[in-house]
Symmetry: D2
Subunit: 303 residues, 4 copies
């Protein structure tokens, strides 16, 4: 469980006293504020703050004066139009701030998204807790045989057990070493900025992460995708669930156009048009290479 009773009490205290504001308010998001959504064994995401709602997107698109259009059906159509035609700036008018607790190897992928603001817990300044990500048995997967950067079947029981033993043992030993190097009991005690180098990538860290809705959608498209590593995908899924309650119209458009959609090359368009006209098109005739054809067929079927 990622939260202590003290932390839960603190969250409830933060939620106890609403204050009046004249800003745009998203009821759906207010319900999430400060609360921890558990992810993995010790991680979580928490919405700490947000700015804007669906109407703010519409308002920015219209640079209208005031509340923008009044009819939800129009707002929905405009938001879908903006998403379809890659108009990014209106979505940038919404902002979200999250508190995330996550394993370091997930943080290393996550931080590649540069258009965001980050404050991470500093292991130069403070001592990290003894918390490590240990995969659940159904996530202990073998290296994929077809995909160089993916996982295949779940490991057999005995092999899985060996792996879990190793991960737990090495985590415990590295943390014992960390503590013993830091200790000032009968010795000087190694600097924290050095001792941390002994800790493995499955130790948990935490940060505040703030980004705008356009860049968040970009993050979700890549990280909630089926090809993303499971351990970051579950964070993306948890965030996506909050976004759905925050900006339901924008989220629905995102799901339809980005998560559920696809991109076609000129060659793929041509091939589909020929198929629609009743023609049977082979890989050779399509002009696609093997990789493209494999992906094309995966979606559209053979012939």
């Amino acid at each position: 469980m990622p939260l202590t009773p003290e932390q839960l009490a603190e969250i409830e205290a933060l939620r106890a006293t609403p204050r009046p504001t004249l800003r745009a308010v998203s009821e759906g998001m207010e319900a999430h504020l400060y609360r921890a959504h558990q992810v993995l064994d010790h991680g979580f995401i928490r919405v700490i703050d947000y700015m804007g709602d669906d109407a703010a997107i519409v308002q920015a698109a219209r640079v209208s004066y005031g509340a923008g259009t009044k009819h939800v059906s129009n707002d929905e159509g405009l938001i879908r139009y903006l998403m379809r035609h890659w108009h990014s700036s209106p979505f940038e008018m919404c902002e979200i701030k999250l508190h995330v607790k996550l394993p370091v190897f997930v943080a290393r992928q996550w931080i590649r998204h540069r258009t965001a603001n980050v404050n991470e817990y500093s292991a130069r300044y403070s001592i990290l807790d003894r918390e490590f990500y240990i995969p659940a048995p159904d996530q202990l997967a073998a290296q994929s045989r077809v995909n160089n950067q993916g996982r295949g079947a779940v490991l057999d029981g005995p092999e899985a057990a060996r792996v879990l033993d190793i991960l737990k043992r090495d985590a415990a030993q590295s943390y014992d070493s960390y503590e013993s190097m830091l200790s000032q009991d009968g010795q000087q005690g190694l600097a924290r900025e050095l001792a941390r180098m002994n800790l493995p990538a499955n130790i948990y860290t935490q940060w505040y992460w703030k980004t705008d809705l356009h860049n968040l959608f970009h993050f979700l498209r890549l990280r909630a995708d089926a090809h993303a590593q499971y351990e970051i995908r579950v964070y993306a899924d948890a965030i996506s669930a909050c976004v759905k309650d925050w900006v339901p119209l924008a989220h629905a458009a995102f799901e339809d156009y980005r998560m559920g959609g696809t991109t076609l090359s000129a060659k793929a368009i041509e091939t589909l048009k020929r198929r629609l006209a009743g023609e049977s098109v082979t890989q050779e005739a399509s002009g696609m290479n093997k990789g493209e054809w494999r992906e094309f067929v995966a979606l559209w079927g053979e012939a």
Copy 2:
């Protein structure tokens, strides 16, 4: 006057019904929300939304769990420390969204600040209003004789009158032409995306502009500076006044360290140290070139 009675009524309507929120609330900023602060003859800035407050900066700096430290004196010290040591990320945790009406030549300077989100009124899509910036008499200044990109003395009366006549006449004529080219009365009517090219740079445009506090401070440092062009400086001043009510501790640190502070080169440090030791240092002995010396003496005096 930039606002119509309808617009004023709309603003009051937006301010009429506070709603409860669990987010951080800045009382000082709530008082500004939606209201127009007039700038120049037809321009304004309006705060449309904000995220965070002084406590959010502290909280991010500590990645503390919950409300952060309780004592304002500590918060102030920490915020000053962050500002002094160029720690930018905690200030990025606050965000502001403005609605700005401004002349195009001011907009062209403003947009050079890239780390911001912008939605501008589109003159491809819509027709611009007949509103032009005409300087007040005390701002009709001559070209500076010493500074290639600055202004000098206020123009003499007759010359000022000639300039005002020209600006008004040309603005009126260009707008008449704009309307006559657009007109579909007895003719096809030129495309809006083409007709706009006839409009001069003192016509007003408007946009939503959103940025984080760190980047806003950077904007204010450059644009509220005495060397900035007057017409953008007045916008920076109006924004700065709102920021002071929003995040008073951060704003005070910004004023002390950035607006009121200065940067010294190694040579300037050395020269000051010699002066403090009672030595008289000439330009030659300082190692500074003429321009550096002129700026150094302007702040620290001769000898």
Copy 3:
């Protein structure tokens, strides 16, 4: 003609003396260096510098040690894979620096692309030349009747003539006024930073603009698109022609996947699958709204 004989001589001088380098060299791009490609009546683009080539993209993708793979066929496949799967960072390893002369209203659209470095000619510091964009007759188009931000049919002769007269007359007058306000002949002379406000948006400015290949492709996708305004599209086309000579493999993948490709929503995929299975699908049955259906049918035809 945008260039003076002196400028042409200067370009040839810059091209006269190649120097040895150990960096990656693109023969195709060397042929473009410094030369002006005319755009519109007085504008141009010139490639001033570049970094990287197709091999640099491949090398970054592999973080290989050294020259990367040796066989072009593999490089092509990898580059197409990267483009197809939206892997942007390897394309960011190439950089281009352009010198561009362009009307101000085009510059205002262009600058919206924020991930770029810009140095623009300063009208605070210097005096702009008397050069205005006057559209060619075949570009004097009426406002579109179906698209709020587009142009329709070319204007009739007499109306076109009137528009041209207006544009030329107003440009001349605004520039005459500019000069007369600046003049220090018998008067103080208005500051340049003020006088410029009288100049219309079809006056030419110039800048150095530097960006990476990923962001350049994004720019080209939006600005070389059929829906972009003609006056920026011709700049995008001129740049695209240079990029084709610089990184032919990346450019070909870009053309196939981005310029010639399309994006399908989940609903559009479903509709196409039903059509491929022989079903006739109406707008209602597709779940698309009117706008989406219109765009869908424009590409895929009516059932």
Copy 4:
């Protein structure tokens, strides 16, 4: 030693055949191209490509047509002026691409600089080498007693020996575990994307890192600073030495204004002025808090 004989041979091959270019060439930088500058025990930096030189900065500042000014003394003055007045865009016109091999905990600090392009070796796709950073004895320092995020005295011999034993033992064990979990010898073999989580933060990774000169200077200012952690400072120092050979004028201005310079608050300016006038100012009278005063006195002395 970070490089194998094969790698050294490959570097010499890359350096063997200069090719003609019409671009700006920096002789100083050509001497560095591809060569590895060793950093820490197994790391290095290598300059892989660059764009621009001192003249390119000047040229962009002037948006001059062609080679810019001819006299180096003028260029130097202009570059110093740009640096002094925080004009960042001309420095952005130069670009550098580095190949860096570095420990993961250094990479985690480094990546916080967001305005850069990065391609990192992927441990999802490939297997990391058995190379760990083990500090040299003179870098095995105790936690600082005065600075929460710094190091103090070097550890005593026996404690240092214990720490080295621990770091080596844990690194070896974690890597043995990594290999044994990955092994497909008699078992399925854990996915690489999972196995990597067992590796500690002192394992080496590598990446291509590309940035512009303005952002590089910002990086160097923070990371070559005396307060930066030693293990990233040595990388910054190695890069700075290359930059000095690349753009000597800009580098000298950077050293004088940024690395050797300081920032004064309004209160510090006031205090120095009073001291210069012969007055003795106490902390209380200065208006500075304790931390500010401590830093002020460290530079300017008591009295």
